[in-house]
């Protein structure tokens, strides 16, 4: 069999790449190892009658151009943009809501602290301006370090002008904030602990780092730039769970002429005379192609699917040192009824993200545990209750609570490994939630715990890392995944990357794939 282009992995990035390549006139073939498409963006029935976006539960959000170019809205994709966007419960009851409307948020914050209420709109303005600027960087292919002046120069001139256009204050902030610890960033703006912790949560989300780790503000800025720059962050969901997004992407890809095969695990990438020529499947079947595009993570792609002999030993060493240790687990709960949070919290405020971890030091302590290879005794949680906006995910009157749990390190120091300790994560999650929503445990009809090792085995995330590698300053932009490989091309002609291990990184955004597709089309057309 022969294909134009093979795309390894039918996750959202793989499908976005395939759809855009097909739309650009190529004939891509997508090969997915599992029997269902979606990778970490899936809707699965985790308990009889209960469905959830089992791994990722929020959109990045999706890049607008992807939605537009692939006409996803007309293919059944319906976004849910809940308000408030985030709710942070407090152990003594009640909590703080952040709304899309900064004025409304500021008004609500007045009951917390007049000073914080005053600071919030300025943070919102500044973050929006900086995010708008940074978002222009996210759509660009990082420059070629050896020949930085090659290729279109205009976007870079524009970016330089844009930097000055930010004005002195915001431009200076951007420079200063990048390398900062998010705990410092948060305390520069706010005095109330819970608000600081909310900001910190965004800084540490998906990182093997605590709020006092340098560089965590960069993570927050990247997230903001991916979203709309709102100081509240985003909480975009999809009706039917993320599986619906995959449905829409699959339809778009097929309509444009892509072929998609599931249950087709790629065993290795074929290299002949230094040129990539196709793949061999686990079944032994060999498929030839002009080019191979991998949406798998860099370690899997280069260390798992290639014969190491074709790589420079220095590159192999650099890849081995690419930091990709997962820190998060996922706990999905089938609930008999809606949980009740302390202090008469109305259920309407639970539609967005629920940030659990109202104290910066506690977030740091959660990280401390993981640092020494232990499961956090009181982890940072980000929960959603998708059934509030999308009741069809559960039987009538019942609910689904989807809980992202950080920190649970991939490499456990002791205790017989993850197989023996899976339930611990479920227990510690419920125990933590109980502090805010007493009685929750009694509502649990069923639970699914996905540890970092499950994320690796079932969903193919090497090291269990949700973003295909730590989003740290030395693994971003033209150094993602490695310096010199930042342009969606590795060292082998005909092999491309389009996953979260490339610029601009993780999240259900389609952004790396959209950038990669542009580069691949430029090479192959």
């Amino acid at each position: 069999m022969k294909a134009d282009v093979i795309v390894i992995g039918g996750g959202h990035n793989g499908l976005v790449a395939a759809a855009l390549l097909a739309r650009g006139g190529l004939k891509p073939l997508v090969l997915e190892r599992r029997d269902i498409l979606g990778g970490a963006a899936v809707t699965e029935e985790f308990h009889p009658g209960f469905k959830a976006s089992t791994v990722a539960h929020l959109l990045g959000p999706l890049r607008a151009s992807v939605v537009h170019d692939l006409d996803l809205r007309h293919r059944g994709l319906a976004f849910i943009e809940p308000e408030p966007r985030v709710f942070a419960p407090m152990p003594e009851g009640g909590g703080v809501c952040l709304w899309g409307d900064a004025g409304k948020t500021a008004f609500e914050l007045r009951k917390l602290s007049a000073k914080d209420a005053e600071a919030y709109p300025e943070l919102h303005r500044s973050l929006s301006a900086i995010s708008a600027y940074l978002s222009r960087l996210l759509v660009l292919t990082p420059p070629d370090i050896d020949r930085p002046l090659r290729g279109p120069i205009l976007p870079w001139v524009g970016l330089g002008m844009g930097f000055r256009g930010l004005g002195r204050e915001d431009a200076q902030r951007l420079l200063r904030w990048g390398p900062m610890a998010v705990a410092d960033f948060a305390s520069e703006w706010f005095s109330s602990e819970v608000l600081r912790a909310l900001v910190c949560g965004r800084g540490i989300h998906g990182l093997f780092a605590g709020p006092w780790s340098a560089g965590t503000t960069a993570n927050l800025l990247l997230q903001s730039a991916t979203g709309d720059g709102n100081a509240a962050g985003t909480a975009v969901q999809v009706t039917g769970g993320l599986g619906s997004l995959i449905g829409a992407l699959t339809a778009a890809a097929r309509q444009h002429g892509a072929e998609i095969r599931t249950g087709a695990a790629v065993e290795r990438i074929v290299v002949k005379d230094g040129q990539v020529g196709g793949v061999v499947l686990a079944s032994g079947e060999e498929i030839a192609a002009r080019a191979v595009v991998s949406s798998a993570d860099p370690k899997r792609t280069f260390l798992g699917l290639l014969d190491p002999a074709v790589l420079d030993p220095d590159d192999v060493r650099r890849l081995r040192n690419y930091r990709q240790q997962g820190m998060a687990s996922k706990v999905n709960l089938a609930l008999d009824a809606l949980p009740v949070f302390r202090g008469d919290v109305p259920s309407e405020v639970l539609r967005g993200r629920i940030h659990v971890g109202p104290d910066v030091d506690d977030l740091e302590r959660a990280f401390d545990d993981a640092k020494y290879g232990g499961i956090s005794r009181q982890p940072y949680l980000e929960a959603t209750i998708p059934t509030l906006s999308d009741p069809a995910l559960a039987p009538a009157g019942k609910h689904v609570m989807s809980v992202y749990v950080q920190f649970t390190p991939y490499a456990l120091r002791d205790g017989g490994g993850w197989e023996a300790r899976r339930d611990e994560v479920g227990d510690v999650t419920l125990k933590t939630l109980e502090r805010y929503a007493p009685g929750l445990t009694r509502l649990v009809l069923g639970r699914q715990v996905l540890t970092p090792v499950d994320l690796e085995r079932t969903y193919g995330l090497t090291g269990g890392h949700p973003s295909h590698g730590e989003m740290a300053l030395d693994q971003l932009f033209l150094a993602r995944p490695l310096i010199g490989w930042g342009r969606y091309r590795g060292p082998l002609p005909g092999l491309y990357m389009c996953g979260a291990g490339t610029h601009p990184g993780g999240g259900v955004t389609g952004a790396p794939a959209a950038n990669a597709a542009r580069e691949i089309l430029a090479d192959l057309k």
């Binding site: 420079l175 390398p179 900062m180 340098a214 650099r318 740290a472 300053l473 030395d474 490695l482």
Partner: protein, 535 residues
């Protein structure tokens, strides 16, 4: 408009530490009349030697010479003024299991020692040393560079940056990769890529945290590691070592050079405030009311002290002031100085010997280091701290009575802000924790202590003027380095007040006995004078 009073000085330098003195010396050598005002009775700031106990002379604060710029040694002819650097040979790390790691300046012996712990690491050590030397060579020019201002059309600044960019681009791929990691990674992450021996990594990573409020696993510490590595390869004049007569001798040598060039120095002269008229510095007022006029005032003290205490409220705009307030000082270390009747006897390598002539490091494992940091994060001093000790009396007997010794211990972590209690109550408990920790490795220690001086971050602030006890006059974290040090937009030694300059460790390239900030600031000021416009 009032006619400015004629003054007898062209510039007043606030603070007689090594940077203030260096700054003054360079100005005077260019023919300017300069007055240095030091609050204490003795010169040197934190680079000072004091006879704390009769016959025992301590480098009270800063205790080893790390990065003193060779061009300053050369240009100010410091050896002629009495500077003599004695080599500090190696680092000895005793371990709880009775073993030790002893790295010496003799590369071959160090390799054999590391081989004893891990043959693989002995191999890696060579490669690592070479890689670090390459990195240091690349980064070094930054130390004598005036930071560009990314927000103005600063053509020379940009061309220097551009030239660095070109150099970066021409480096081999692995070097590019290493530099990028160095700038952003944690010391442990970086060392993990090279080595497997825990104690080796722990001891090496320690230089990444000295003086910072960061742990060995905190991103950004790899850079500080390099910062300390740069001293080790400074060619002609070995710059890792003791100064004969203590670190105060360095300050005295610089003061000698300054005085020879005509600088006037007054000690016991505490500044009450900097006089500003119509947005321009016109001189200083001393405590007690004496006024001294000069068209230029250069401050070598930290920005909090300079702008929040010495400049009257209302002179500076709120935006600038809030940036200054944001500048993080955050002291994290203390100092314990011990006068000893005899030498400490380490269980791991008993008796006197060359291992006592270098640095002795209490850094037995990465986890030990990181746990010490964890306590500080939550506002406690480390019960089992990281300690870097030297016994200068072995190399330079003049600092202690015959047969006696001094043990100078740098201790981390000791956070300035304690969650419970205050440093006046906890000073001795802190001292006890340090002595107990060392005594675990050298059991005779408690018996041989004749005197003990414990300096907490609060003491460093009160006595030496280091705000919050920060030994570098501000964290060496990425957001406070280069064109962001001390605050964005004002990293070029000038300030919003015309005629007021900064020349201390709070400016690029930062802390340590380096002298570079004082020198670069002087060269910038001289340029302004030459152009006839004091900024």
């Amino acid at each position: 408009m009032a006619v400015p009073m004629p003054s007898s000085y062209d510039a007043i330098v606030i603070g007689g530490g090594h940077n203030g003195l260096t700054h003054a010396a360079y100005l005077a050598r260019a023919g300017r009349r300069v007055l240095v005002l030091e609050r204490r009775h003795v010169l040197g700031g934190a680079a000072v030697t004091e006879e704390v106990f009769p016959g025992f002379k301590f480098s009270v604060c800063s205790y080893v010479v790390s990065l003193l710029r060779p061009e300053i040694i050369r240009e100010l002819d410091l050896p002629r003024h009495g500077l003599e650097i004695l080599p500090l040979d190696g680092t000895f790390t005793p371990m709880p299991n009775g073993d030790y790691l002893w790295r010496m300046s003799d590369h071959a012996r160090t390799r054999r020692e590391i081989y004893r712990h891990s043959p693989l690491d002995a191999e890696a050590y060579d490669e690592y040393s070479k890689a670090m030397a390459d990195m240091a060579r690349f980064v070094k020019p930054i130390l004598s560079m005036v930071p560009p201002d990314p927000l103005s059309f600063d053509v020379p600044g940009f061309s220097r940056l551009f030239a660095m960019g070109r150099r970066f681009q021409r480096l081999p791929r692995t070097d590019q990769h290493n530099i990028l990691q160095l700038m952003t990674m944690s010391a442990v992450d970086l060392l993990d890529q090279w080595f497997e021996t825990d104690v080796l990594k722990a001891t090496m990573s320690a230089s990444g945290i000295i003086g910072t409020f960061l742990g060995v696993r905190s991103p950004g510490t790899a850079y500080v590691l390099l910062h300390h590595y740069m001293g080790e390869i400074d060619g002609v004049f070995r710059s890792w070592g003791f100064s004969r007569g203590g670190t105060g001798a360095i300050s005295m040598a610089i003061a000698g050079a300054a005085q020879e060039a005509g600088v006037e120095i007054r000690t016991g002269a505490s500044i009450e405030r900097i006089k500003v008229r119509a947005g321009r510095a016109t001189g200083v007022v001393l405590e007690g009311g004496e006024e001294i006029d000069a068209p230029v005032v250069s401050s070598s003290v930290d920005p909090h002290r300079t702008f929040l205490k010495m400049v009257e409220p209302g002179v500076l705009d709120d935006g600038f002031l809030s940036e200054v307030r944001r500048y993080k000082l955050r002291g994290s270390s203390g100092k314990v100085n011990l006068a000893l009747d005899a030498l400490p006897d380490f269980t791991a390598l008993p008796g006197p010997g060359p291992h006592l002539r270098g640095a002795i490091s209490i850094s037995p494992s990465i986890e030990y280091m990181e746990k010490a940091y964890d306590q500080a994060k939550y506002g406690e001093f480390s019960a089992h701290p990281y300690i870097d000790m030297v016994i200068p009396s072995l190399t330079d007997p003049s600092v202690a009575p015959p047969g006696k010794h001094i043990l100078s211990c740098f201790v981390q972590y000791a956070p300035y802000k304690l969650r419970e209690g205050n440093w006046d109550e906890k000073r001795e408990a802190f001292g006890d924790a340090v002595v107990d920790t060392i005594a675990q490795y050298a059991p005779n220690l408690k018996k041989i202590i004749r005197h003990r001086q414990v300096l907490t971050p609060l003491d460093l602030e009160r006595e030496w003027g280091l705000t919050e006890g920060n030994i570098f006059q501000g964290e060496l974290s990425l957001e406070q380095l280069f064109f962001l040090r001390p605050v964005p937009g004002w990293a070029r030694y000038r300030t919003p007040v015309r005629g007021l300059y900064m020349c201390g460790s709070a400016t690029h390239p930062g802390g340590g006995i380096m002298g570079a900030p004082g020198r670069i600031a002087a060269l910038e000021l001289l340029k302004d004078w030459k152009r006839g416009k004091v900024a």
